[in-house]
Every structure is written in C-alpha cells, then in structure tokens.
Symmetry: C2
Amino acid sequence: MPESKWPLLPVSEARRIILEHVQPLGTEERRFEDAQGYVLAEDVRAREPMPPFPASAKDGFAVIADDTTEWRRIVGDQFAGYDANLRVEYGTAARITTGAPVPQGANAVIMVEFSEVQGDRVRFTRRVEPGADIRPVGQDIAQGQVVLPTGTRLGPAELGLLATVGATRITVWKRPRIGVMSTGDELVEPDETPGPGQIRDANRFSLMAAVRETGAEALDLGLAPDTADALEAFIREGLRACDAIVTSGGVSMGELDLVKPLLERMGTVHFGRVSVKPGKPVTFATVDGKPFFAMPGFPVSSLVAFEIFARPALLRMAGWPLDAVERPRVPVVLDHDIRHGAARTEYQRAIVRFDRTDGRFHATTTGFQGSGRLLSMVGANALLELPEGRGDFHAGESVDALLIAPLKTE
Amino acid sequence: MPESKWPLLPVSEARRIILEHVQPLGTEERRFEDAQGYVLAEDVRAREPMPPFPASAKDGFAVIADDTTEWRRIVGDQFAGYDANLRVEYGTAARITTGAPVPQGANAVIMVEFSEVQGDRVRFTRRVEPGADIRPVGQDIAQGQVVLPTGTRLGPAELGLLATVGATRITVWKRPRIGVMSTGDELVEPDETPGPGQIRDANRFSLMAAVRETGAEALDLGLAPDTADALEAFIREGLRACDAIVTSGGVSMGELDLVKPLLERMGTVHFGRVSVKPGKPVTFATVDGKPFFAMPGFPVSSLVAFEIFARPALLRMAGWPLDAVERPRVPVVLDHDIRHGAARTEYQRAIVRFDRTDGRFHATTTGFQGSGRLLSMVGANALLELPEGRGDFHAGESVDALLIAPLKTE
C-alpha cells in the first residue's frame, strides 16, 4: 500500500494555512454587561472628561492652600453626589467627602486626619500644596479620548471603563458557535456500558470544554454515523447550525476512515497530514466557507491538535488580533532526559515551574506520553515543543514550552 | 480628629485572616458535562482498565511478530467497535483498524503503509517486535486507579477522563454566589447622564466581571441606599441570596461612610485597614458566618483590593486547594524608575514580558497610577508588588510581580 497521498506539512506551515482561511465572523451590538470576554469592534471614546468636575480624593476639608489663618470658619458641607454651591475664601474651609466636587475658590484638600474641629471652626496640623488631594477635570480620561481601541478584549477593567463613559451599547465581534462531533464505531456514550471492542467517547466532551475555554460556544453534534452518505448529511446539518466544526477520529488511513474523502467532495481540504506528534493525521478543510478541523481519534492527539491548530483559529474568528492568538512561549530547562524521534515536531505535556533560585524555567513531563493517555494532560500547564530534525533530549538541555495554563512559581 | 480606630495591618496578615475565615461551601452532585471549572470533592476511580482490551494503535494488520512467512493469508477484518472472533496463526494476518481489539494469537500490528495486498494475501516491507502498535490492557488507566483525586479542577482533559471511566455523575464543591453592590451618593447607573457632582457607577460591573473570572456566580445587588437603616436591610437581603458579599465605597473616614459601623453591629469586623496602596480602607467582616469584602470606592482600588484580598477567598470557597489560590509570582526587572512611598505595600499595574535575549522578566507600568484611573488596568498582565519599608525604585532594579493574565513573550 502506498504512503498517504497527503504531503506531511511542517507545523508552522499548517498553522499559517489555517490562519489564512479564518477571519472574524462579523459584528453585533451588545449591552456592555453581556459582553464579558467579547472583543471590541469599534473604538470607544469618552464623551465627557473623567472626573467631570474637580473632585476631592479624600475625606477632609477644601481649603485655599496658602491660607495661613489658624482657625478657619466652616462654610458648609460638600458631600458627594450634588453641588452644594459653596465658596471657600481666605479664612474659611468646607467639609468635603471623597468624590465630591471641590467648592469654588478652594484649591486643595486637607485630610480629615489632620484636622481639629471646634464648633463651626477648624484648624489643621499639616499644610498642603495647591492641588493636594484634588483630582482635576480629565485627570483619568480626557474628553474625546479613545478609552478602548477596537480589538480590545473586554475583561473586568474594560467593562468598568465602558460603564464610566456610559458606553452601554457597544459593537463587538460575534462569538463563534462551534459544532463538535466524534466519529468511531467503537464509541459509546459515557453513560453506556461498553460492549466487546467498545469504549466510551471522551473526545467530544474534552473538545467541547476546550472550545468553551476559548470563549466560543460549543454545540454537541453527537456521535457521527459511520457510512459516507449518512455522515455527509450529518455534517451538512452541523454546518447549517455552526460557524465551524471540530471532529475527532476517522482521519487516519484505514478503510473505514471516511472523513477526508468526504471533505474533499464537500469542500476544499487544505492539508491532510502534519509532521507532528501526536496529531499527524490532523486535517483542515473549508466547506461552504466554514472551517472544518478534523482531529485524530486518540484522546491526547485530539486535544493537543486542537490546542496547536484549532485554538488560534477560534480566537481569530472571535475577533482577537492576530498577534494575540498564540500562547506564551518560553525556554525551559529539562529536569530529566526525554526520548524523542527526529522525524516530527513533538508536543509533550509537562509541568513548567519558574525557579527563582537559578532564574530559569524548569520542565518535568507528566509521565507516559501515550496518545491515549489523557492522564498525561491532567495537571500539565505546558506543552514542550521538541523540534523535528534531532532526536532524544537530555536533562539540562533547553527547549521551548507553550504555557497553556498559569505558570507554577512556588 | 484622631487617626482611624482600625490598626493598619500588613498585607500578608490581612490575607491570612481572610483565608482563616473562609472554607469550601459544601458539595453537590452534578452531571460531568455541566461541571467544567468545578472542583472535585471526591476521588474518581476507574472501574475498568483502559484500554479494556488489547487494542490496535494503528490501521494495518494484526500478526505474529516472529512469523517469517512471506505471503500470509488474511483471515478476516477486525474493525473497531465489536469482536470479530478472529484467530491469527503463523502464516496468517488479520486486517485491523485503530482502536479495534487485537485478535487472539496476534502479538503485534504492522502499519498499513508497510503492507502489500494481493487478493486474500498480504506481505510486509517491514518487520516488527512483539507488542508493536498494540496498546495493552490498562496501559493508560489501571483498573481501580484513582484517575482524578479530590481537589482537581475540571478542565478539558479532566472532563474527557470522567467520560472515559463513565463517571457521569460526580460530587463537586458548590460554586459560590457572590452579591456585588456599590455605595456612594455620587453614583448613577451607566445608562444615566450624571448631574452636577455625579458620576456613573463602574465598580459594580468591573467587580462582577472579576467575580465571574474566578468561576463564581455574580449577583447584581445594585446601588446601595445611603442611610444606615436602609443599608442594613439591603445588606440583610443580599446575604440571604448570596454566599458572600463584595461592596465598594463607603469605607473611608468620612461622616457618611456607613459600612464599617454597620458591619460591626451586624457581625464581626476582622480588619478595617491594611497598609496597602491602593486599597488602604479595605475591610473584611463576617456576617451570619458569610464573608463580607468591603472595597474602597475608587475604581482601581476596588479592583486591586479584590485581586489581592477577595479572589483567593472566592477560589477557596469554590473548593480550590489552599496552595492553588495564589497568582504566579516572578521577579521582574524594572524598565524605568518608579516612584513609591515607603509607608505601604503598593501594587502598580504593569505589563510583564519575558525577554529571551537576557533570560529575564521585564516590567513597564501602564502609565499614571491614580486610584481612579481604570485605564491603568487595561492591558496590564501583572501587579508589581513594591514592598513597604523603602522608597523609590530605579530602572534595572528587581521587584516581585503577580501575573494576573498570560505572560507576554514576543
């Protein structure tokens, strides 16, 4: 039997091809409270300055800074939330609370801790400079300023800024809806008891969770049927409901592997093999203009291939700027020998820890790296990238790691 | 006026006190598909080994490894998903697909790429060792093995493992529901146009987003009323609906600051000031046994105080192990001078980047660090921890940084 008809692409080439074929889906208007994790598709400007009036930064007294009067008359209270229309002159002061507008005439605030009050008089145990504890108009945000540029992902601080400037309806990139299916005659649902030769489907659930971790919506398309005609109808239905499809299984060379020939008939297969371990048969196609990611069937292969090939594409579809879709990449020192075949780029699951005693990142792999051993993903916060072109690595050597979860530092 | 009655606690002491007063909420049973992000409250064991039968790792032929017959008779097809009851003897081979059970008698699989078929005969261009491309019973998971210990946070790989072992109903720690309110007479809702002396509320929305980022549920309690009696009723109602409450505003020394005295009356105030900038008036209480985090009113102060004081507690309430609730901490080189007062521990917002040319982390702050300037949080992936006890820092000096978002590495 001949080798596969599909050329073995280098990882970087396969990733380049994918990102060439995906783009943000389109925009929609959303309430800002419902836009956490979305990406802005417009520049948001401040219509007013912030603060909009000279505001006290502390609880205390509004004064004239160079006033030398010992006991000053309290002209009134300026609490936050309204304008008491007070006027501070030499020999006087006004009570003021944090966030309240500074009365006319005053040019500084003295904190309450440095005041002594007797009746309607106050004296101070500290002098201050003009401007002290006053937040001038526009100190935080200038009128007309772009506070959040297009392409900004909306997290806690960004949502607070939108509230501050009153941008309660904003234009964001749509969130992709990703259909996930598993193929494989041996698969039964997790609630079933496997019969002879059967196992429970795991990939659909791990891939849906990985889809959701990117911020996209995951749609469970179920277990795919195993004849070409039924599978085609199944995929067509999935494509109608989704912006992209992720499958696992059915892409290696066996006679029952239906997915690749079907994708060739239904659309364009951009690549059908990549020089990567695990994940060599990973396939990328577009059908009706929609991305189709066909992952291998082994549980680890499908999750690693998703991470390397599908995740950047899903982020891009959600409007993330191209320079933000990659994981952090750091050089790590191997704490033990690692076996590695020179033929392919290999991604091994590892725990990476920054050690401040020697100022370096250290990596330990998560045990046996078999393609079926999902346990090798558990607790991993990194994928070690072992390049093609050279074999085994030794303890103390350095390789690159992609950080897929928070760094360990203790 | 005297200094505040509340002693100024060191940051570490305040954090210790909080973690002493929170614990995981309690457990519940959930479907595994609906448990992403939850923390396991039981050890999950595999009832069966994985794979449950000797399984082919490749598409190809099941053979006897030391069989030297050139052309072997194909005794049948063993596809995945059932047991074809084949038997391989010397001089024979069986077609097999990835994941299918290895027929009796066979002890190796030869990949289809190394086979040549003529009619019902096959010969091979490569020899293999016994065991080649066969995944033995229990290779990935041993029968009875704990696949996920209690305390494991459920991400994509973990959900896949639960599916694999058929653990479709699991016991997890409950997710906390956190009520968020803002206090401050100057606040109006984001959709309103502020009048004289008023500003739009931002904190409630940024704090709710920060709560959701921890995995907890956020409940919008709205803008709090500004009289003691109304506020007490408001807080009591919030406590009935929530496992903890986060407020902002109303905790500094002004005469209208109601929160601290009210909390003293309603429950126990564990601390009322911390030697931290921003966030000095941050207050932690328990009322009816429920944690109450009272954050300062400035937008940056409230978010930074949430990060330093409330986030670890919320994770702990959700069942995270104590050693997992802290952010990664790394030493960073300052790329510019930083002004810092020696009186308090200060957290400045910064962008931290790992530079592989010198092998060090570098930090640049995000501009003016005013407590009201939410823009200083935008784009920040770290908080620089400037310790109390010494003043300004200079470019080239090293400080610790807490990584609050993915590291930059390009």
